[in-house]
């Protein structure tokens, strides 16, 4: 079968206006690495959810809630008082794979295989598995025998968890996790969501997801009834994001305030 001639090519039988319109068109674009990383993180969360748990239209919201609750991501702050210890991330299976995928995407190499399946896996930069003993709850203290002298002893400083090594060094993955956490909290506790957003701003003042962070901050302020601040930040973001997809989202948000 003969291939038809394209409208915008010479010899295409298109009316002049049609040719003009198609000449101005932009081809569909590929996903950027950032979009792919974000999408991979989201799909990892979807995969971690049992199918039966997803009830139709509410599925997305539930998945977002599972982001923080379901054990995929747990933030563990190393509890050393007076020391400047960076925030550690302890990440369960799906996100761990995402971190590795993102690293692979950055280096152009293949994504590593799932642990335990291939039998060979580099542990460099990755979290070592917590031993079963470490994950068991500590035994309850025994009652002192009657008549024995009890001394008040200061409780020992909790030692950092065995697995408290940074799992994901990739900053973009970490940014995604922080902002997804904020998004998850948005509906139930906008003040906590705002806290997460501010934490992101402190850690990544010029982060790659700064625009998304600002958008979440506006949403949180709006939910907290701080409309003035929300509007001011919304208008500032609108100025910065002219011609980007955020423009429409921010305009929609500003319209909600009216």
């Amino acid at each position: 079968m003969k291939e038809p001639t394209r409208w915008r090519d010479a010899g295409g039988s298109a009316p002049p206006r049609v040719r003009e319109l198609f000449t101005s068109a932009q081809p569909t674009r590929k996903m950027t690495q950032l979009e792919l990383a974000r999408s991979t993180a989201q799909v990892a969360q979807i995969a971690a959810t049992p199918v039966g748990v997803l009830p139709g239209v509410l599925a997305k919201k539930i998945v977002m809630a599972i982001l923080g609750i379901g054990g995929a991501v747990a933030l563990v702050v190393a509890p050393r008082v007076g020391q400047d210890v960076p925030l550690m991330l302890k990440v369960a299976e799906p996100i761990e794979r995402v971190g590795a995928t993102v690293e692979a995407a950055g280096s152009g190499g293949p994504a590593p295989e799932e642990p335990g399946k291939s039998g060979e896996r580099s542990t460099e930069g990755m979290e070592s598995r917590a031993t079963p003993a470490a994950s068991r709850p500590a035994p309850l203290p025994k009652k002192p025998a009657r008549g024995s002298v009890t001394k008040k002893v200061a409780p020992p400083m909790p030692s950092p968890p065995v697995s408290a090594e940074p799992v994901m060094e990739d900053s973009i993955t970490r940014e995604i996790v922080m902002l997804e956490e904020a998004r998850r909290l948005m509906a139930t506790s906008p003040s906590e969501a705002l806290g997460r957003v501010e934490a992101h701003a402190r850690e990544f003042p010029a982060g790659r997801l700064a625009a998304e962070r600002e958008f979440l901050a506006i949403d949180a302020l709006l939910r907290l009834g701080r409309k003035g601040e929300a509007r001011a930040r919304g208008e500032a973001l609108l100025e910065r994001s002219s011609g980007t997809p955020y423009e429409v989202r921010v305009r929609r948000k500003l319209d909600e305030m009216r």
């Binding site: 394209r6 081809p27 569909t28 991979t40 199918v51 599925a59 011609g243």
Partner: protein, 200 residues
């Protein structure tokens, strides 16, 4: 024979005789995503999803994949199945009120193809032409729209389109022909409305 190759493509670990790796594990949403994320992303654009909604709809697609993967017939092409899901989700998305009334600013590149900054007039003309094109494409049904965009804008060949959509090449030719007719009619209608002094 074609079915055998397809099975090998879907289940490479079976042909190799070793257990599947995480990436190769069949019927897993993560594996499907790894292979077809970009295809879904592009399909949604071809079906007319605007940039601000792409992220949400992409997630919806993979939620459906996760829920319905057990119903996927491994003898049929995965892309056709995914495209069907994209189409259903976009059809629902089109029904939503805010999508119907919203006109989206489509970003114009800062430089022209010659690497020179376009004048404000050129920028405006390009922006208007793209908005008009989107409006006209939105009048087509989703199958025709996708074929027209793939052929005229993404410049794919009919065979490539047929493979991506999982339909015979003859169907692509037929859809393209009908899509062109429908597009021309939509343009005539639009111009008639404009000449009568309507907004659109």
């Amino acid at each position: 024979m074609d079915g055998v190759f397809r099975m090998i493509r879907l289940f490479p670990w079976a042909a190799r005789g070793s257990p599947p790796s995480a990436v190769e594990r069949p019927l897993d949403v993560v594996a499907v995503h790894a292979e077809y994320a970009d295809f879904v992303f592009r399909s949604l654009q071809r079906l007319g999803v605007r940039p601000p909604d792409l992220d949400d709809l992409r997630q919806e697609v993979f939620l459906v994949v996760h829920k319905r993967l057990h119903t996927f017939d491994t003898g049929s092409p995965m892309q056709a199945w995914l495209f069907g899901i994209c189409k259903n989700i976009v059809a629902r998305h089109r029904q939503r009120a805010y999508v119907r009334r919203e006109t989206t600013a489509i970003p114009v590149p800062e430089t022209s193809s010659e690497g020179v900054l376009p004048s404000p007039e050129e920028s405006l003309a390009t922006k208007q032409a793209r908005a008009e094109l989107e409006e006209l494409l939105d009048e087509l049904d989703l199958d025709k729209r996708a074929v027209l965009v793939m052929f005229e804008i993404d410049e794919l060949g009919c065979e490539e389109i047929a493979e991506e959509l999982g339909v015979p090449v003859g169907t692509v030719h037929s859809r393209l022909h009908k899509a062109r007719k429908a597009f021309e009619k939509a343009l005539v209608r639009r111009q008639a409305r404009l000449s009568r002094g309507g907004r659109r």
